[in-house]
Symmetry: C2
Subunit: 115 residues, 2 copies
């Protein structure tokens, strides 16, 4: 089974709508990256109903460390917000991973809690 994981920071005190838009950015960017690098994962994920899970981290450091580990292993994307509203320009807010096989994603994300 394929899934996409989106990991978002909770320490920025973004409102619900802002958080949702960062998650959507990460989901779309990571989808496009995966479509380019592993199109067969995207096809399978689409057939299976496009499972997505949203997880949380509580610091920039945690998110950057996760991204550093994952970036050479799985298609993924880090979102930096333009900062028009609520937060400073250039703030790293979220990371999207995959879609990719569940087991491969869980290796990196199993310690994070659902948002």
């Amino acid at each position: 089974m394929q899934k996409q994981a989106i990991i978002v920071r909770t320490d920025l005190e973004m409102g619900k709508g802002k958080t949702c838009s960062q998650v959507a950015h990460a989901s779309l960017q990571s989808y496009m990256k995966t479509k380019e690098k592993n199109p067969e994962w995207v096809e399978q994920w689409t057939r299976e109903g496009q499972k997505k899970i949203v997880l949380k981290v509580s610091s920039k450091k945690e998110l950057e460390e996760l991204f550093k580990k994952v970036r050479t292993r799985l298609p993924c994307s880090k979102i930096t917000d333009a900062g028009h509203t609520q937060i400073e320009p250039g703030t790293v807010t979220a990371v999207g991973i995959g879609p990719a096989p569940e087991g491969k994603i869980d290796q990196y994300t199993s310690k994070y809690k659902l948002l």
Copy 2:
């Protein structure tokens, strides 16, 4: 300027993560629909930084009425959740519109508040 609007129900009492995943579903589905029907809007939107706004409605009726109005005019997508967690299978949760020119979207969505 192009933007994508995502409209989500607040009456379902979904948790934050669930809400974010519904918004991400709507964003991705509507992106794919637009890419098929109006690829030039997607290209322009990508060049401009992929503006997304997340709005709220408080009932199924409101969301269905919006979708009925928009569906023949703009590329859009209605999300029905499989209901594995938190809500009943087949529940309509969100609608994504575009990316499309801001003015065309605002015609239908200007009365809704940001999530």
